[in-house]
Amino acid sequence: MAASDYDVAVVGGGLVGVATAWGLAREGCRVVVLDEGDRAVRASRGNFALVWVQSKGLGLPQYAGWTIRSSNAWGGFAQTLKEETGLDVSFQRPGGFHLALSEKELEGRANILKRLHNQPGIVDYKTEIMNRSQVAKMLPDIGPEVVGGSFCPLDGHVNSLRLFRTLHTAVKARGVSYLPSHRVETIIKEGGEFRLATAQGEIRAGKVALAAGNANMRLAPMVGLEAPMRPERGQIVVTERLRPFLIHPVVTLRQTDEGTVMIGDSKEESTDPAGLTLGVSATEAERAVRLFPLLANVNVVRTWSAIRVMTQDGFPIYDESKTHPGAFTVCCHSGVTLAANHALTVAPMIARGALDASLVAPFSARRFHVQAVG
């Protein structure tokens, strides 16, 4: 492989990696995506597929603005992908709910939103608390225990497996080299280029974008960056295909464009992707039936667990290396929600060789070092 064969090597072929690679290719970069194989622990195949705004940004108000930016760009992003690939990722933004099963839950929800909106510099994303009858007008099938909820008109969802496939199709069509079974072992910078060692040989590129999810923790220090992570397991229960009854996604429950109902949002401090805890699935299913009693007799066809990509404070990390210019991290939990930003905003910055501080400075990993900030 000649030294100048790639402008950028993207490490990681999940949603974050391929969205970034697609954006880079659109900027005219010659891009290679280095991915693990089929056995990779891959959040992109197990996620819940929300394009979600409400609740984001408590503790880091700029994250709310960043999320809304992506949410607003998502429609055009989906349309462009459709034009390029002929595939429809079924992006919908009907507005979404967080439902409460007790007055105490509703009060807790209202408090979170109040604290969120009281932060200086927060963007108003128009989330409102609704009482039971207001919710029932929009979600007629709620159960008797639902006392109300919060609604955000910016929330939506997508078919995320199709998004994953579509992005891979799109990068291929744009000439990106996708190399599976190329787990990156080491990265060094030498002679003005990055050398990425894999069992299949060395790949050289002018720049490197680390989009390897939780594995960024291992890779980032090789290029003078850091990505403190705390992986977390989530479990999802999937029903048989049903006629449409749920227009608005709920944070723990949504009906896909194909009719299945996905039930999820559990959190466990575990990194074993093969583990399924029946108690967790049962708790999710029980709560789903309390929210929507008509689900009681519906058949479950699949359950799975997956590992969330999660930084230590839950907010994204976008960084450029001071010691290894040309090395970047693109690391976040919400690879679906933020896909439009990664493709349309972050990738062009990497193509230009510098992050735009006015947009992403708050997301530097320097925030983890209190003394270094400022």
């Binding site: 099938d141 048989e240 295909r241 049903l242 006629r243 009854f245 194909e258 009719g259 109902v261 929507f292 009693p293 008509l294 689900l295 007799n297 519906v298 058949n299």
Partner: protein
């Protein structure tokens, strides 16, 4: 197309989509429908293609029907009983049924 090897046994009557179907004690819903010459028990949720019982041993999920108001039962695993109301399914199941 199919016929019973031994046309004996205790008669049981069920209905399929409201029509009376003669069955035998020991039949499953799926075999009773096959014996009655019903050529499909459902249409698929995605393309609407007609489907008939296939494996008859609980594996293939082709024979899904609504039995006494409960949707997506595996017809090959449910023994018939007198007066049982079976409905063929069209496309996606309706939640709550």
């Amino acid at each position: 197309m199919f016929k019973r090897l031994v046309d004996a046994g205790v008669a049981v009557a069920i209905t399929v989509d409201g029509k009376r179907v003669a069955a035998r004690v020991g039949d499953t819903v799926a075999t009773a429908m096959i014996a009655a010459g019903i050529d499909h028990c459902r249409t698929t949720p995605v393309t609407g293609a007609p489907r008939a019982p296939y494996c008859l041993m609980g594996v293939c999920f082709e024979c899904l029907v609504t039995v006494d108001g409960v949707g997506s039962r595996q017809g090959c695993l449910v023994p018939v009983s007198e007066g049982m109301a079976v409905e063929t399914q069209t496309g996606k199941r309706e939640a709550g049924r």
